[in-house]
Symmetry: D2
Subunit: 340 residues, 4 copies
């Protein structure tokens, strides 16, 4: 199958990160074009990757017949026009949140897509792809714990710029928990309350930070969310779902933590592919990257030799129950003085 | 830069896993050829991936001028001939452990590579690429904790086949800790002792399992390793390094755990790229994969619309301090009865 | 100093527990009298402990000149009369929560005590004495983390009887968090909201469980509390306080967990008195109890002998670097066949 | 039953700690006498506690007919004579470790006790009374995990005086693990090896620290122990027992941690008596202590009043689903300006 030819619209911090991702960590996709109002920035990024064009007009990029799919990382106010153009041109779209700036325009996107007759748009709520959130969702959906009653979220940033105002805490930060709660409960949010305690003195003047949001779900579920964007702690995201017969917490760093029947705990993997799968990916990627630039990284043949020699000594030690000395060749002599 | 053209020699469980990895998760590489004594197996694998040839003779694959690099996942006894062929043909090589079956043959590989004048061989000790081990190594090497004095390893498998004998525990399992200890101490192992307590009744008759290995490093370090391949627990790998002014433990699942100065703890990331980097990768990969097959997965435009509507209600709630109802359009009407 | 002569009023589950505590685990106090409407129960308890009288009338017990202090564990509706009698008679009082059944009567107790001219009454909010809560309070009060902004509480019971109604969740369970929040913020609660999601099907008909309480403190702090008394999980109490420059969580079982400055973690004690203080208490108590009944428990002289013999072998092993065999005397011979 | 009359021999750091414990935290015992070569120290301690005599000659204390039981906390070299005197006088004895200075003298104590015809001596291996070790032992003895195969111990001190020499690491520190291993395996240690890596530069000149001890049990079990008395980390004691079908770790601070069948985790208590039992003890002890000196600590009647008022508001909030204001009486007016 031919690779998916992807264009990226908006190459600020997020768009550049996605461009790097498409080039270096995603298989089956070719980054072919980028577009940004800052044409120098776009040109510079295009120059870093062979075969990538900088296109001045984002709508032209979207319409380009050599572009199969578009990743939109432009500012939110530009989304409506760009996503509608994608839908019109039949392009698969990954649009960073928010979909658009208000509900009416977002609804226009939904309707345009529907009229087009086939789904094209994915919105960038990436937490659904986080392995911990995904495992939590699977466990809740299994029904094993009964219905989900409550969700408690914690969402903390270390610090934000002074330009990050009270409303942006709702629109840019809390919006992730909006999607998480809709997704975990598989239900719409019916009622929203935002409570503001005294604000931290670490926030800019007039900014109400932290905030506590209460979501009442249409089906009777309830969610509390602390958002604290000048927490001075670091980036900290946790989610605890409380069901009728147990609760699950993620974000502690150890995979979903389950509490039920007087027991807390988690899963121990069956084999090395689970525990070290990512290490294998990183190993092979490092090998591919090094080979392309004519180098060798990582464990060398000397390391392989030394390990084999120690293993042989180990087998002898096992047979005798005694300490066995490992007799290695002289490294400097073998390698001619070069480090292995 | 042109992709690295990779051949895989040996397509049993490990080689197939690597082939999948090269095709689906590694960028910058093209899998072009596979070889296995079981020619049906090789043909079947090749058929799964367009552009991949099955080559009967592994040495022919290695010599093929359309192959830039070779990943060797054949049984250990075949390694010497194959790696030497790689060196002779100037091919970059990633050889699964063990490098060869004994120290003398491994040394021949080291010497052949040296005579070739440039490094070509990487050995598959993938733990060096595990983010936790790598972070531990960086911290030890920083010198902040003083010299490393002791390393304690735990290496447990849930269960192994009855054919996995006492010596294989040393050669196939313990060999990972051999490399870990050499790497962490940056030193050679001078003396090996293998202690065997009474064996578990869960192991096959005559198999000495668990085993405790003692490594005395040339420079005075010491390492203890429990290897227990029929532990019935699961796959469990931990490593604790004890230095002069603190210790680091990995394998608890939360990143390196540091103990020093009456304090234990770990790191909280600065931003979302650290915490959710993998989620972004998985999100974009899912989008690419879905787009290539003409589908949309993940959060839809309806999800984007609903989130935007809730955000607007949230901003109103923030302004008033009161509960605000979210008024969504009728989903069935907008979507024509289709699920979003 | 003479021991404090204590009477216990109400010997249901809680009062019996306190009576046992006074007799077996508290020093400086003599339990001298108990009273309960169920006179058989009181008589039975009195009979278990030498020197303890059963007194039919609780007010007579309170007035008794041989009683210095009264622990009130009767049902809440009896508290007002009993505590007022304690105040009138100048008796030190530990009154289980609630102080009385409504605010007006509680205020009468406060006023009576004030008129008496000296403090006499302690209310049974025992969480303030929990080492974790106490450490959290000390850290918040130190000012090191800035002002406290938010508190999040989790309060779960495994299951309660069907007679435990929705209001009791507020009055009997949530009341602990009422005190915790007042104490941690050092402030009064200004506004209370109770939110009820759909109820668990594990609760009795009509019982609203779980509940989420919101406390707005007079000084601007905010607290959220989940109370879930039929959680099926077990007894689970956690508290997370969020201050301007860090947060503290207790109830994870490892002492206060502090997050600040991109770091999470906790304290490692300085010496064995911190880690094993309770073990020493339990050891000496076990010795005292065994000695009083003419028995020896715990490590015997044989255990002391064997440890000394192993230590001697250890010192020899240290000197030689070799395995040293421990030669113990024949146990059966030395002990005459009796177990050590 | 009359209290046990206890004498303490040796009132250095350990003996003073035990005297405090007997007076303040242990029920059923009266401290009646203390003895120490430093007679001023003994007199001073006796003066702190009414009814306690300082006795110059420890043997006289032991022989005193008003002493029922003796706690020996003198230096190890004095133990043999003192414990033998206890045995001769039929006194219950709790002897701090080591029982005596060498195996021959320890055996004389065992034999003397045996000749006396009844057990009298308990040795101060207090870890057996630590709730975590005790729970671990119970679980191993239950047989649920099969036979115990391996034990791994970590025993770290933050720092010791320069006078603490290499041999003392074996005799004074490792001796705890000697007892732990004998007790957990219910078996004698057959062979001891002490391995010494390069020593930390934080230890005094010539002191071999850390050390790794290997114990081979008579029945085939095996134990590894790291002892590191100048670890700079803090006081850290962990123990991991590996059985045929699972392993248990203690010392992580959360009660025994069990790993088996692809699962790790621990226990959540059934009710508050488990979680807050110690808080109740501390609460009642604080109340007793305060009452004896004529004071009130802890939650006051005002706190009880405020909690009751908030509960009433909470019940109203539950009924209405709305925020309810709490109207407290004016505190300064009610209390006459005094803090509550």
């Amino acid at each position: 199958m031919a690779p998916l030819r992807v264009g990226v619209v908006g190459v600020g911090m997020m768009g550049t990160d996605h461009a790097d991702r498409l080039v270096h960590r995603i298989s089956g996709a070719d980054l072919v074009a980028v577009s940004d109002p800052d044409t120098d920035l776009a040109a510079e990024l295009a120059a870093r990757f062979p075969g990538v064009r900088a296109v001045e007009d984002p709508i032209a990029l979207i319409a380009d017949e050599h572009v199969d799919a578009v990743l939109i990382a432009s500012p939110g106010f530009a989304h409506e026009e760009q996503v509608l153009a994608c839908v019109e041109n039949g392009k698969y779209t990954l649009c960073e949140k928010p979909l658009t700036m208000d509900a009416a325009s977002a609804l226009r996107v939904v309707e345009a897509e529907r009229k087009g007759g086939r789904p094209l748009v994915q919105v960038g709520f990436m937490r659904r792809f986080d392995p911990e959130y995904a495992a939590m969702k699977r466990l809740l959906d299994s029904g094993e714990l009964g219905r989900t009653l409550l969700v408690h979220n914690i969402h903390r940033n270390k610090v934000v710029p002074d330009s990050f105002r009270s409303e942006m805490i709702v629109q840019d930060s809390l919006v992730h928990e909006v999607d998480v709660c809709r997704w975990l409960f598989d239900d719409e949010i019916d009622m929203v309350t935002i409570l503001v305690p005294r604000s931290t003195s670490e926030a800019a003047d007039g900014v109400r930070d932290p905030q506590v949001a209460i979501f009442q779900m249409a089906g009777g579920g309830l969610a509390t969310t602390e958002v604290f964007v000048n927490s001075r702690i670091g980036y900290e995201v946790r989610c605890e779902a409380v069901a009728e017969r147990g609760n699950i917490t993620i974000g502690l760093g150890q995979g979903p933590h389950l509490r039920r029947d007087n027991h807390y705990g988690g899963h121990i993997p069956d084999d090395f592919r689970d525990r070290f799968g990512r290490a294998y990916d990183l190993e092979v990627q490092a090998w591919v990257d090094a080979s392309r630039r004519g180098a060798v990284v990582g464990p060398t043949s000397w390391d392989g030799y030394a390990a084999t020699a120690v293993s042989a000594a180990g087998v002898a030690a096992l047979a005798t129950g005694r300490p066995i000395r490992v007799n290695l060749a002289d490294r400097a002599e073998v390698l001619g003085g070069a480090a292995g």
